[in-house]
């Protein structure tokens, strides 16, 4: 048995893995998430084990137990519990349901509900050389820096086809009924970061196969409205974090992106984003 401690925003989560296969899977999940091996549990306790052909995931703190047939789903539910506990218990940080990549230390934040295509877009951005922070949860601290939970990118089935060609090492991919988990290492030229210096740009995506491409600047009010829909620990914060988030939205540019596939992207779309991120960095 091995135990690893993850700590984010003061929330401690100990994940124990029993058996060789569980230890290997957990090592893959934690590959780019800061963690340390520990002898005793601290904080939230989550266990992962294998029972014949079934993964057994137990959130001991919440008294939740799941049996899962496929490793992709084990990764999905394990990281889902980690995200839940961080968002539930974090103090004095804003937790956003958002993906995030970075360019020269400045974050491109991608808030969106499940199914909007943020993980698919994140996969493309990482394959283009942006640093991976997360496809699910970012934490914004009072001093403006942010951290991501750099779990394996999790793609729902309708989002798989566009990113298949971006996977350089398919043997690292873990399949599941609900999602396919793609470690960053499976993408060519991928790199990851735990934290970014600050936010430079917001991007609100919507993937709709066959819809074509549109990329449009949003007013700060439109962006603020969308952002609050993805603020997942508002109730824990003073004033629900509303004023603090609106202060950020008044300062940073935001765009909507509708796309039906990467073939719809202009050839210089990556460069457009880099220019926008660089401008924000300079201002």
């Amino acid at each position: 048995m091995s135990s690893w401690l993850i700590e984010k925003a003061g929330v401690q989560i100990t994940v124990k893995a029993s058996g060789k296969l569980a230890i290997e899977l957990l090592a893959q999940v934690l590959a780019v998430i800061p963690h340390e091996e520990v002898k005793t549990s601290r904080g939230v306790r989550i266990n992962l084990s294998r029972d014949e052909d079934t993964w057994v995931l137990e959130d001991k703190t919440s008294n939740i137990k799941r049996k899962l047939a496929q490793s992709g789903d084990a990764i999905y539910h394990l990281t889902d519990r980690v995200v839940f506990h961080i968002a539930d218990k974090a103090k004095d940080v804003h937790c956003l349901h958002a993906a995030c990549v970075a360019y020269k230390g400045q974050a491109l934040v991608i808030p969106a509900n499940s199914g909007a295509g943020k993980s698919t877009l994140t996969t493309w951005l990482v394959s283009q050389g942006f640093d991976y922070l997360t496809d699910e949860l970012i934490l914004i601290y009072p001093d403006g820096h942010l951290e991501g939970l750099a779990r394996p990118i999790q793609i729902k089935h309708h989002g798989l086809a566009p990113i298949q060609s971006l996977i350089a090492q398919p043997e690292l991919v873990e399949e599941g009924k609900q999602v396919t988990a793609i470690p960053v290492a499976a993408l060519s030229n991928a790199s990851s970061l735990d934290a970014a210096d600050g936010i430079a740009l917001f991007l609100f995506p919507k993937y709709d196969k066959g819809s074509g491409f549109s990329f449009a600047r949003l007013s700060s009010a439109e962006a603020g409205l969308r952002l609050m829909g993805n603020h997942i620990n508002a109730r824990s914060l003073d004033g629900h974090g509303f004023s603090a988030m609106m202060k950020i939205m008044r300062h940073e540019a935001a765009y909507s992106l509708n796309y039906g596939g990467f073939a719809d992207f202009p050839n210089d779309f990556k460069q457009q984003l880099e220019v926008l991120l660089s401008k924000a960095r300079q201002s």
Binding site: S219, A221, G224, L225, M228, G239, H240, M246, M249, R250
Partner: protein, 96 residues
């Protein structure tokens, strides 16, 4: 909606000016609303003292060329904001 009704802001609502547009946040429901200029005017006038008719009259005096539309618009806005729970009706006991 009787025009004698009086409305006031729900408790703890927060409003932010976003480069000339307004976002209104209701902590109780964790709802965020985008108020355009006319809706913002109605929101501001619903101060727990003015009746619906007072709000209509005030706006008609300020915008005389839109007299006819204002009455309907005010009722529509107040209805919507009430449904979103950011405006609450002042009861008889609260008034006295």
């Amino acid at each position: 909606m009787p025009n004698s009704d009086i409305y006031t802001h729900a408790e703890d609502c927060l409003i932010e000016d976003m480069d000339g547009e307004s976002l209104l946040y209701h902590p109780g429901t964790t709802t965020t609303l985008h108020l355009n200029q006319p809706s913002l005017l109605v929101w501001n006038l619903c101060d727990g003292e003015r009746s619906v008719q007072d709000v209509i009259t005030t706006l008609q005096e300020a915008f005389p060329d839109q007299n006819e539309q204002i009455a309907e618009d005010v009722v529509d806005v107040i209805t919507e904001l009430r449904e979103k729970k950011v405006l609450v009706k002042v009861t008889g006991a609260a008034r006295s």
